[in-house]
Structure formats: C-alpha cells, structure tokens
Amino acid sequence: MFTIVLYILAAVLLLVSFVKDRRKTKMALKKAWKSFENILPQFIAILIIVGIMLAIISPEMISRLIGNQSGWIGMLVAATIGAITLIPGFVAFPLAAALLNGGAGFMQIAVFISTLMMVGVVTIPVEISYFGKKATLLRNAMAFLFSFVVAIVIGVVLK
C-alpha cells in the first residue's frame, strides 16, 4: 500500500518537474541512478548475506533460543540475534507473533524487534561510508542499549 503511495508521489513530482524543466528532470534522474549505483555493490552483498543467514538461522532455532523462561540471558540472546540479522518487517512481525505463541516472553520479543529494526551489524559498512566510524558505532551501540529500555517498559506495561 505505502509503496504504491510512494510510487504515485514520485510519478506526480517527476511529471511536474518534467513540465517545469526538462533538463533539470534529466539531471535528477541521472543523480538518482548515480546515488543508487554508488551503493549497489553493498546492497547486493547485504542481500546475499541476509539470504545465507536466514537459511541457516530458522524460526525454530530462534524460538528455541529465546523460548520459555529464558530470562535475562534470553533477552541478551534475543537482542544479539536482532542486532545481527536483517529480517524484513513483514516477515519479522508474524515471526514475533509466532514466537510469542511458542512461549517466548514479551520482553524478549520486544528487545528482539527493537534491535532488529534499529541496530544493523550487517549494514555497518554502508553506514560508515555515509557517517564515518564514530557516529555509526555510537548510533548502533546506543540503539542496542535503548532496546533493553524498550523491553523493560513493555514488560511493565503489558504485565
């Protein structure tokens, strides 16, 4: 749905731009391609790493690691798996719901979702090429720690 909105927005603006100034529009498309091609090698690498990872780490395996009464160790494991793996959202939430039904705790799931979305170990090289080492490491480290805060609050609210 949102992708469609995004497409319509891009198409309309592209048309407006084309009517206003053809040369500028051509330049915009050239720039769009250039910024894409700039990170395409890294994109491809990420896609393959994620593919291999998802093939090796199955939902059953994750479920075993952060299942019943896994407590703080379970949370740490959940956070680490979330930080390393890169699972698209539409796979992640059904997986999270399944894990919950399989006996994983709300806190483990919350920390997993949070690091999954905010921390990207696999994409760190791309992030560094835009923000440098220091900012990238700071962002990922803080997001990792913050994920535990999220989990604790969720644990309290959803008790």
């Binding site: 949102f2 992708t3 995004l6 497409y7 927005l9 891009a10 198409a11 603006l13 592209l14 731009s17 500028k24 529009t25 915009a28 050239k30 720039k31 769009a32 910024s35 700039n38 990170i39 090698p41 890294q42 994109f43 491809i44 690498a45 896609l47 393959i48 790493i49 994620v50 593919g51 291999i52 998802l54 093939a55 090796i56 698209p88 959202g89 939430f93 999270a96 709300f106 799931i109 919350a110 979702i113 979305m117 905010m118 994409t123 791309v126 992030e127 090429s129 835009y130 923000f131 440098g132 220091k134 700071l138 962002r139 997001a143 913050f146 805060v149 999220v150 609050v153 969720i154 609210v157």
Partner: protein, 178 residues
C-alpha cells in the same frame, strides 16, 4: 570490466560462497538463494521511487531552503520534518543512508538527520500497522511512544558526543557519496 569486478568483489565472493553452500548443503544453499531472491524483489519494489525522489530533491531543493527547513536554526520544525519524513518511508534501513547523505549535503543539522534515521528504522507507519495486527495495539503504541523519546535522545547524544572534526568529516563524506 576489471574496475567493475573490483567494485563488486565482495558481492562476487559472496555469490561464490553461496554456490559453495549449494554443493556442501543443497537444502541451505537453495533456501538462501530463495531468500536472497525474495529480499531482492522487496528491495527493488521500493527502491525506484525512493531514488527518484532523492534525485528530484537534489535538483529542485536549494541548499538555502534545506538549511532553513532542517539546518542548525530550524528548531522544532526541523525535528518534526525529520521525524515525519523518516516515518513516512518504506524500505529497509540501509535505503535511508543515501537519503540521509543528501540531507547532510544540503545542510541539514546532524541531529535532525539522526532523528530521520531513527524514525526510518523504527517508527515507520507501514510497519506500525503490521506490528499492531501481529502484536496488538497496546504493544505497538507502547513501543511507539518510548521510541519517540529514544530517537530524540540518541540523535542529540550523537550530536553532542561528536567533535567538530568528526562533524566536518561526516559532511565531507555526504558530499562525496551523493
């Protein structure tokens, strides 16, 4: 050709590893190729509009305008724009980095760019709807509200912890990458 091979060397090596995996453990190798294919399709679906918008932004929005909207003195307006832009996004976090690079190149404040990254990573509207249906509204709303606080705190902390040298380097990188 050789230049191209060097640029794509990591990707090529990974393709090699995956093929090796296919020989050693056909089941894992096949699943992995399937997953990569699925993810590639998902990425290709969202990437064209994002990069077209990126190109249009680059050509049409003047640096002065961007500085006014999201620069050092943009205040609350800048924060809001950054948050809304990130939340309205679709696509994986790594697609946000080029957009962030352009925002920096055009003179956005660093903390605003990190608010944008934070919002893109965790308060994306399309994903929130998904989250609510999978995990329930209470879970989603609780996480959403703490995240608003967390995104801001992380963004300001990064800005504070970076020295002026680091910042200069970041802005130089952004100009070079876009």
């Amino acid at each position: 050709m050789i230049k191209l091979m060097i640029r794509y060397r990591v990707a090529l090596a990974l393709i090699g590893i995956n093929l090796l995996l296919l020989i050693i453990s056909p089941a894992i190798g096949r699943t992995s190729i399937e997953m990569t294919g699925n993810n590639a399709m998902e990425m290709l679906a969202v990437i064209p509009p994002i990069f077209i918008l990126l190109g249009l932004l680059d050509v049409w929005i003047k640096r002065e305008t961007m500085i006014k909207l999201m620069g050092e003195k943009s205040g609350l307006v800048g924060i809001l724009i950054a948050f809304l832009m990130g939340s309205a996004a679709a696509g994986p976090l790594y697609a946000a980095f080029p957009v962030a690079g352009l925002l920096l190149k055009k003179g956005s404040k660093l903390s605003n760019v990190f608010i944008f990254i934070g919002a893109w990573s965790t308060t994306k509207i399309p994903l929130l709807l998904f989250e609510a249906s999978a995990m329930g509204w209470k879970f989603m709303l609780t996480r959403f509200m703490i995240n608003i606080v967390g995104i801001g705190m992380i963004a300001f902390a990064i800005e504070k912890l970076l020295g002026s040298e680091d910042k200069k380097e970041i802005y130089e990188k952004a100009t070079e990458m876009n």
